[in-house]
Amino acid sequence: MESKTTLPVQNGGKINKMMALNLLMGAIGIYLWWTIYRVLPDLSKWLTYNLLPIKEGSHLGSSVEFFFYDTPKVMMLLFLVVFGVGILRSFFTPEKTRAFLSGKSEFVGNIFAALLGIITPFCSCSAVPLFIGFVTAGVPLGVTFSFLIAAPMVNEIALGLLYGLLGWKVAAIYLGTGLFIAISAGWVIGRLKLENHVEDWVTQANAVNLTMEEEKLTWNDRFVYGWDAVKEIIGRVWIYVILGIAVGAGIHGFVPEGVMASIMGKDSWWSVPLSVVIGVPMYSNAAGVIPVVEALLGKGAALGSVLAFMMSVIALSLPEMVILRKVLKPKLIAVFVGVVACGILFVGYLFNMIL
């Protein structure tokens, strides 16, 4: 793969050949992907009951089958989603996003910031330079927060997995409510006029704007970008996925039907706040949480409570707070956590009520 990036750009014929080769490989890849994906249910049954000495219908059997079915399924879905989003992301950079947002008014700005937060490539350890870059360029504080909330909250991995495991409706609800929280929480923070709770050195930082020549990416580069994203992300999250599926498999096989309905069901008013309280200190990534979510839903947990649990695990995390403390005074961090938690509570109650 490495050799592709150094291809001479002027050599058009070679590029076209590479492009054709990429497309051909892509088509074969998708065909293989689909073929394997279709046999997974039978394969997992065969592995569990024929290869291993496990009786059909037992608790253990249903756990093991869940594990053998979900692990390859989740990995395959991740592969496809991360590759696709990687290619999409190669069109966006934080610099372009900032330039676009700096001229926007508050409410419209919040909406665009939340949308761009999903698609702009950025890792949480860059949150501080990004925050400074936005604020010093005149992006309003609330708009900056909409971006920072949406980036982890609406996560392409989560979206892809929800779609694959629970259907498009749940995925759409997650996307819609995640955006709603990012937009409204950012807007509220903007209205509260907390600019003086940003650490003083941030506004004094005279960011020398170093210019960087913009890279011209070919389609080939974009494929490589997508492929790199696959290697990077799957290399990082696979262990969480397997742990998550193992926990999910345990719940699936051993927790009796309906137990979750009493703990995380829609009839108990405290189930949503409890889900948030349990979720906030937990730190996992989306890929690990979703198999647990799938298993919880299967045992009668209400969608609103589960959604609240998932969002508080991935959107509010202690490591991120520690990083942001460098640029935000404690009160602003508290407001940030509080407003986002309120948004999650609202979404949780809403869905427990209407579904």
């Binding site: 934080p94 890792c123 330079p129 640029v327």
Partner: protein, 77 residues
């Protein structure tokens, strides 16, 4: 030649610094590499993402781990 690698110390930043060191060694280039991990200093360079690589005051890459071939091309100018 002066090379600065900006990054608070996450895995990607460390990898970038290692790659830069390797390229310098392999190509026998005379360069000073400095790791900048202080947030205020990083911010003063006006970059958005870490890890970033700066060669003689010019930002060469931000927000990703560069490839060895790319690093070499920045240093050979």
């Amino acid at each position: 030649m002066e090379i600065k690698v900006l990054g608070p110390g996450c895995a990607k930043c460390k990898k970038t610094e290692k790659l830069v060191q390797e390229v310098i060694k392999e190509a026998g280039i005379d360069a000073k590499v400095e790791k900048v991990s202080d947030m205020m200093q990083i911010a003063s360079y006006g970059v958005f993402g870490t890890p970033s690589v700066i060669v003689d005051g010019q930002v060469k890459c931000t927000g990703k781990v560069p490839k060895k071939a790319d690093i070499l091309s920045w240093l050979q100018k």
